[in-house]
Amino acid sequence: MTSLPFTPDEMMTIAASRALKNSDVCFVGIGAPSAACNVARLTHAPDITLIYESGTIGTQPDVLPLSIGDGELCETALTTVPVPEMFRYWLQGGRITIGFLGAAQLDKFGNINTTVIGDYAKPKTRLPGGGGAPEIATSSHQVYITMKQSLRSMVEKIDFYTSFGHGDGGDHRRRLGIDSAGPTLLITDLAIWTPHPQTKEFTVQALHPGVSREDVQKNCGWKVSFAAALETTPAPTELELTTLRDLQARTKAAHRRISRKEEAA
């Protein structure tokens, strides 16, 4: 894989960006989802509506925000609404087509843990928690997940159900009265996955260029199912790569910038 002119991370972000449409209204999580959404906006989906939970609607940041509430998001947004309105009218009101989430721990049914590793009352590692995700996962029309693969992050059983995916699989969402589609797409640094139509178990549909089935299995804690007609993800185009790299370079410069005062000292 070392000979490829792009990294697995870049392939992941670009593959994720391709899944977004111009007409989507996307509730964006920080990190990999945010990069993918903005690459989509800067390439094939210029009119996509990006919404961050700080209340910014239709934002068009020039650099990726470090947090969901960076000033850049507000300054480039069509409008900024209060946080209760964001969750009540826009998310709960059913106006979000795609909820785009990352995960610390994920299982094969798309259930997400971002709360604790270990026992909730006596955690081994206390993670940040759910934030907006528990309701993004159930009120968005569908959910895309993007994350790097590892044995620690993709596990047979997650330690805590922060955000509900397909539960135990099958029609578990329906049985809980959840009428949205839930996770319909998982994009990792190695592959593109979609849930099996009946069991809802994530199935690999395409391997990224240079990735083998063994690579995917080695970095996943459950026994991986592969589609019969396994495809290869098209490699990033020049435009996609340049757009992503420029965006990341601008972002890095902006976030590492120290105040002029410190520079002067």
């Binding site: 700080s54 209760p84 709960q92 709360t115 907006g132 528990p134 159900y161 539960g167 809980l176 105040s259």
Partner: protein, 303 residues
């Protein structure tokens, strides 16, 4: 002669004076934050009232129950300095950077003291603040479906819609003893203007019994501004303190930018107990509200 009977209601809980008092931050914190209080220092990434938090740390109020959607660096600092017995929150991360290491140390190891937590989702907290501002006992929303927090937090319950039968989540309203926010400006009468990412500040102020606002500046009046800007009337606010730069390393829209480098730096400072204590001693305990103006000097937005 007639007299109007006072009627007993929840509104007596409000301890507002008739108009906001302009005070020093030291006085505002001393008069409004008490040991054992339920306190909300709000600001959703933007307008975080850091100067007020630092003043509270200097005054060493104890046994606080802190409420805040995103505890952020400020609650990490208060927890690490031992002011806090309980935290009510929905996202305990250093936004965009990682974990809150002092909060983690308290939860995982009980240092410097054990910390009770009441954990929610953002939607729940936002609804609960709104219910508090609306004078309701609880908030009802479509949430926590399939979410395990509902099993570990006894303050998350479910009710049936009396009209459709839909199962909906309910959480208690948030009614803080005191709310602290930072805002762009006050006018001379003590009305307060907030703009940009306004987060949950209006709800926090209206839900609380007492409200303290730090502002960048005081202007003569708000004439000529857009009629729909968020303005909190003077009579909803207890106390105002002028602290330029008071939300650093967060930012104030129109005044100065977010100091992202400080958020990245905090990850290293908070990783070590002694490093943390030394940093707090130098930058908070031995400092004052006046120090904030210099901290945003290099981040100011050109007029």
């Amino acid at each position: 002669m007639y007299r109007i009977e006072n009627f007993c209601s929840q509104y007596e809980l409000l301890e507002r004076s008739t108009v906001a008092k302009f005070q020093s931050l030291q006085e505002a914190v001393a008069e409004n934050l008490r040991d054992g209080d339920r306190a909300a220092f709000e600001g959703f990434t933007h307008l975080i009232p850091t100067a007020a938090v630092h003043e509270a740390i200097r005054q060493k109020q104890k046994d606080l129950t802190l409420i805040r959607m995103t505890p952020d660096l400020v609650y990490d600092q208060m927890i690490g300095m031992g002011l806090v017995k309980k935290a009510i929150f929905s996202y305990a991360g250093n936004p965009g950077v990682g974990l809150l290491r002092r909060l983690r140390d308290a939860v995982e190891n009980g240092w410097p003291q054990p910390l009770d937590i009441e954990e929610h989702s953002h939607a729940a907290m936002a609804n609960a603040y709104e219910a508090g501002a609306a004078g309701l006992p609880c908030a009802v929303f479509r949430g926590y479906r399939g979410a395990e927090l509902a099993k570990v937090n006894p303050n998350i319950k479910f009710i049936e819609c009396p009209f459709t039968g839909e199962r909906l989540a309910a959480v208690p309203a948030i009614r803080p003893d005191v709310a602290f926010i930072h805002a762009q400006k006050a006018d001379r009468k003590g009305n307060v203007l907030v703009e940009g990412i306004i987060g949950i500040q209006k709800e926090a102020v209206l839900a609380a019994k007492r409200a303290v606002v730090t502002v960048e500046e005081v202007v003569e009046d708000f004439n000529g501004l857009h009629p729909n800007l968020t303005v909190l009337p003077s009579w909803t606010i207890t106390s105002i303190a002028v602290v330029p730069g008071g939300s650093h390393p967060s930012y104030t829209h129109g005044y100065y930018e977010r100091d992202n480098a400080s958020y990245l730096e905090w990850d290293e400072i908070a990783a070590d107990r002694q490093l943390f204590l030394d940093w707090m001693e130098a930058n908070v305990v031995k400092s004052s509200p006046e120090a904030f103006a210099a901290r945003v000097e290099g981040l100011r937005i050109a007029a």
